[in-house]
Symmetry: C2
Subunit: 765 residues, 2 copies
């Protein structure tokens, strides 16, 4: 019953005509989208690219149970699952949409009555400090989250600044037994023993500082905090749940009561209050990558007052400013919610990883100061080089430039002399494959977003990264022209992606006139050919002796030389030279038929079951949209004589894979990559090969869009005759001039003006 | 046989006439004194008050074996036991003489042949990287240590600067299989799971930086390092011996080989070399309380060159400068060795805890900068307030002033607003009892070493510390005038020591004209009377209802209201008012007889067995010199009519309790307190009540002494007719004026001049 109410709440918008308040984009953002099933988004409060993501966690799932991998862990990558009916508490750091996880630092939870320091069991809210809740009493907005905690009828509200979480708890009745629990054990994607050390000092009667140090996905990670209550606590205490305790011989105190120094591996603290009826107790919680003082200074710099409504307004104003960079009209409100929620998701990460003073922790675990740029972290690059960074390079070029600067700083501080692969919180987790920082950098160089010495430095870092012999089969790749499967698994995926990355480096080198680097990498960029087996029409794993592996099933992923994609999907990964690939695969006609087969085939369950990332809905035929390797595939028809099929497929994917509901994402949003695909495609173009400076034309889903560029120009997009059926593009014109190729250039988009799509219900062949 | 040779080596000095090289005091320092049995000193290299104590560790004893306390651990408080015949390696931090322990950071060990990353089993040197050695091939000097490692015939030499250890390993034969092991798991007084985290980065082919974080006696402790080899290593690697490993999914590297990022809970690394015959491979190893960069800067600031002999010379010159503050002649070389080794031991701690840049870690776990003073750590105050700090206040007043500044900084940073109790490495371990910082501070104030605002601040900190209600029974003490045993154990010891500390605060208040503080604490200082039971003639534990506990045995320590001393010893602890105490105990004559009984009684084994700190030799009758509470007792005869007994007892203690041999200390040296007792007594006076400005006269053991004071003055002490039999003092004169009281004042000593003791073989009554 509760669920039904929630469902109605979520769908409570008018289909068709709806009011569009100018400048209020927040109303179209629904952070609950993607929180059900495999989206791995979180519903809580944050500001654009904010360091703090203050969000409810609905369960804690250990990574291992009895030494065995616990499959349920995966569901909780963002801490929250829509189907759960209890909230354990509100923690301050969350990834958005990742396929593996970490974080969940510093869980805060208000309770009334006898103190409970255990979260309790799932399904038994009274067994611990967790509380039942229902979606009917839940509001998730950009920059604001509210929920009623049913167990004690406490209203929990939260908003944030970049580095500070702001909690407001309204206690329904007077009590001399109110508590706010600070759980420093809690974490997301927890390993049996993820906490390395936690430390807290109670300084006075309102303030706590400390840190949490973990060994999780990030090997050596510390988050510092400063916490402040709006009123003094009357007492406090903590309990060490691990086996380590204060080891001095001289236990002169009852350390569990009002003892202001807390330290250990597994701590939960509580702060006790008398509250009046309807009294609001507020908590400000600042974090820092550097120090406790850094956290305290961040709080001072960003949130001096205790006016919750003002803070919420500030957060939402900030969202409106950022979301307003693209002003769209759509056929219905659902699509507009899709659009702005996607835009919201693309503005969540990378996140600011730096104190307001400019200090941050480097990959070398040292403290650094960056007066020249804002340092960012959480680079899910295998995902985000495809569309997220190209999107930011267009509509957030200043931030994207700082992100590149952050990557280059990482390179400088790296003892490997490598750019980030998948990095977060001053750690490299080496997740997935490739060295896709180089694509992000090259895209920024080729489009002129980075120039001069900065560009040269970034290019050198790219080339150096791509030459790191001991990295993931690169030595073989450089020697043999491909990664041999007998030496390094997922060898085909690696060969294909290295080849693309190499091409991207070559493009930047060309732009900067670095001939030697260009020659070196343009040659390497052809290596994809070495793993194409014309006898089967797929790329295929090769042994170091030069022969293709006998065992091969293009539907399978595991043990077939691929990762997160089978040969059907991955073999098409030559974004930098589709024309040549199509030639090798038998020419345009044969290739178009091949793509048709991909989109219409049936992928047997046994193959689908291999991936944990996506739902059945994340698949169209054999095309897997829920994972990234095929994200460019729908646009490949543009290289055949059937570009209309790109238009048709894109509109189909937009419709099938993105819905304005909690289960609206068919796979992990992957730090905004899935959403960036949506945004580009919804606007009518897509960067098949970032660093090409080209954006393949598809079929827009918006009616109109005005992109306000940072250079002061505006690009207005108009889809004439737009409708759900008019998915075909009859013609495209820019500033009145017809575009008779299949792509736009960066200069065209960035130059602003008017881009008109004439839509039709039949293909124009 | 090997042992016999060593023994002869150690005793190879001439009794009687011996050459005395002027200015070379190092020759009289034997760091091996106290390394056998319970002295808990270490033989390795260090400079005065140095941060680095680079010393061999002869075994690793876990604190617990199968959940049970391992008694052998205690022997290894300084890492080295003279009776052992193997060295595990050389680590960089050691306490001197403590009765509990920690540290042992970063063990380095050279080996040749197949790599061994386990230390191996005791008694089986070939089972691991440990090596057999013999004392015949060992040289321990102030600032220099040398030993031949028999397993591979490697000559190991070491010296240090304040913050940098300098190793020199001479490999006997050419080898392409030489290794230097860096063991980051190793520790002293290890708990089953003391390591919290360790981290190392190989930066280039000669340099490693990193840190070790432990949860031992210090709860939250991190030591950072920078290590540099004199030549490039050809390869390296590490192994994680704990269960935690790099948890990223993507193990793209063989992390154990030439992978420059090491992190985990239990790491041992190795660095591999080709060596020629007799090639020396050197290692510089800097530490920092603050950061890896701090360590690297310390190395740069203190040790730029690779000239080992020069570094050794610098270290020993520094020792000669410091040891030369007291220039003595003695009856024989053995006594001179006793004297300078004691002086050496008093100059080992507190240790500098600050980078050369002035940065240090505070008790609040924050980084601080102290431009105004050098920050020190390792304050074993229950021991050292008695004689060590009074000694430093006399002959190292600048350093002692900085130590007080360090204590006050600790207070400022303490969330308890308390001065240190027993602190080390930015942690309070709360060891033992009392708040004896106040004694050190008051002594410095009363003697005029600290004045003005600095003194007022320190006094306020003292008073505030003594008012911290939740500390160790203080609330009851303030309410009832004593600590009640039913509320807090060791209650009599605490009451007695609080009363003395309170008196010390009052003296400082008087000096600074702070009447309110004086009144408050002079009143508290009489609280010792509340635990004196005239019916038995001892202090005795009292219940909170005001009655003495029925069960009472003045020979027993455990469960009797005392700690590290029974009622026989502890009841005499009223150093600030012996006259009143003697009156209460029946007058001078009865009291002298009581003292006689103490020094001549037999302490049954069952009572002795209760203490782990001392050997049987640490006891004279029932007087326990091996622990501190009775350190003033021999001087109490001065308040009776039998002052000659003080002279006799003191000389007896000097002779029995201090010997120039490895087993020469009868108990823990306790960070120099035992040695400071020796030095004062050897010079002829002792501070029974620090902060009184008085030093009770005893019987000097030196023939002459010249104390060079920092104020430029010199005090020359002459013991006329000095001999082993002339232990009685016939008269004392200062600058020609006869002293007809039993004490000297601070002003007299500090004013310089000539102090003449006329010695005799019979008491002067």
């Amino acid at each position: 019953m509760k669920k039904l109410i929630a469902f109605i709440t979520l769908l409570s918008f008018n289909i068709g005509v709806f009011a569009q308040r100018s400048g209020d984009y927040v109303q179209y953002v629904n952070p609950l989208i993607g929180t059900q099933k495999m989206g791995h988004t979180y519903p809580g409060a944050t500001v654009p690219f904010g360091s703090v993501q203050l969000s409810p966690d609905t369960d804690e799932q250990p990574h291992n149970i009895g030494g065995k991998y616990n499959k349920d862990t995966y569901k909780y990558c963002a801490g929250y699952q829509y189907d759960d009916s209890e909230i354990v508490g509100f923690s301050h750091t969350h990834f958005s949409g990742t396929g593996h996880s970490d974080l969940g630092d510093f869980l805060v939870m208000p309770t009334v009555g006898p103190l409970q320091l255990e979260p309790g069991k799932k399904g038994e809210p009274k067994s611990g400090f967790r509380s039942a809740f229902s979606h009917a009493n839940e509001t998730a907005e950009a920059g604001y989250y509210k929920v009623r905690l049913d167990d004690d009828n406490i209203l929990a509200e939260m908003t944030t600044t970049t580095r500070v979480g702001f909690h407001q708890y309204t206690f329904p009745t007077a009590s001399n037994d109110a508590h706010i629990v600070l759980d420093m054990m809690h974490g997301i994607y927890d390993y049996a023993d993820k906490n390395v050390w936690t430390f807290a000092r109670v300084e006075g009667d309102r303030r706590i500082v400390g840190y949490r140090q973990t060994n999780g996905w990030a090997r050596t990670r510390t988050v510092y905090f400063a916490m402040e209550f709006s009123k003094p606590f009357k007492s406090y205490g903590y309990k060490e749940f691990g086996k380590q305790d204060y080891k001095g011989f001289w236990r002169k105190f009852d350390q569990t009561k009002n003892f202001p120094e807390m330290a250990g591996k597994q701590l939960r603290a509580h702060f006790d209050f008398d509250v009046k009826q309807n009294e609001k107790v507020q908590v400000k919680f600042a974090i820092s990558p550097v120090s406790m003082d850094g956290a305290a200074e961040n709080m001072k710099a960003e949130l001096r007052h205790w006016d919750f409504e003002r803070a919420r307004r500030d957060a939402q104003d900030e969202w409106n400013r950022e979301l307003g960079k693209i002003d769209v009209t759509t056929l219905d409100k659902g699509e507009k919610i899709n659009f702005y929620t996607a835009l919201y998701h693309t503005f969540l990460s990378p996140t600011v990883y730096q104190d307001t003073s400019g200090h941050y922790r480097g990959i070398d675990q040292r403290e650094h100061w960056s007066p020249g740029f804002t340092n960012y972290t959480t680079f899910s690059l295998w995902d985000t080089y495809r569309a997220l960074h190209p999107l930011l390079n267009l509509i957030q070029p200043r931030r994207n430039k700082d992100m590149v600067a952050s990557m280059v700083a990482h390179y400088d501080q790296s003892v490997h002399k490598m750019l980030p692969v998948w990095s977060h919180y001053a750690n490299e987790n080496w997740c997935m494959i490739g060295y896709h920082s180089v694509s992000v950098i090259s895209d920024a160089i080729v489009t002129g977003n980075i120039t001069g010495p900065e560009a040269n430095k970034a290019l050198d870092a790219s080339a150096q990264t791509a030459r790191q012999k001991y990295y993931d089969g690169l030595e073989y790749y450089m020697k043999l022209g491909y990664v041999p499967e007998d030496k390094n698994s997922s060898s085909v995926s690696k060969t294909l992606e290295y080849a693309y990355d190499d091409w991207a480096i070559a493009q930047a080198a060309k732009k900067l006139g670095k001939t030697a680097i260009y020659d070196e990498f343009i040659k390497r960029s052809e290596n994809w050919k070495n793993v194409y087996d014309s006898s089967v029409g797929f790329t295929r794993p090769k042994s170091s002796d030069g022969t293709f592996l006998a065992k091969f099933d293009p539907l399978k992923t595991e043990g077939q030389g691929f990762i997160e994609g089978n040969a059907w999907n991955y073999s098409l990964y030559v974004p930098h030279d589709p024309a040549e690939m199509i030639k090798m695969m038998g020419g345009k006609r044969k290739f178009a038929a091949h793509l048709d087969e991909l989109f219409t085939m049936h992928l047997p369950d046994e193959f689908f079951a291999e991936t944990e990332d996506i739902t059945r809905e994340g698949i169209i035929g054999g095309y897997i949209h829920g994972n990234e390797p095929a994200h460019h595939v729908a646009y490949l028809y543009n290289w055949t004589d059937d570009a209309w099929k790109t238009q048709e497929r894109v509109r189909m994917i937009l419709k099938n894979q993105y819905k304005p509901t909690p289960d609206g994402l068919g796979g992990n949003d992957d730090c905004g990559q899935m959403s960036a695909w949506y945004l580009f495609s919804a606007l009518g173009f897509y960067p098949v090969a970032p660093a090409s400076g080209q954006y393949q034309l598809g079929s827009p889903v918006v009616k109109t869009a005005v992109i306000s560029l940072e250079n002061g120009k505006k690009l207005t997009i108009e889809a004439q005759n737009q409708s759900d059926k008019n998915v075909y593009v009859e013609s495209v014109s820019l500033n009145g001039r017809k575009i008779d190729r299949k792509y736009l250039t960066f200069a065209e988009i960035n130059g602003g003006g008017k881009l008109v799509f004439k839509m039709a219900n039949k293909p124009t062949v």
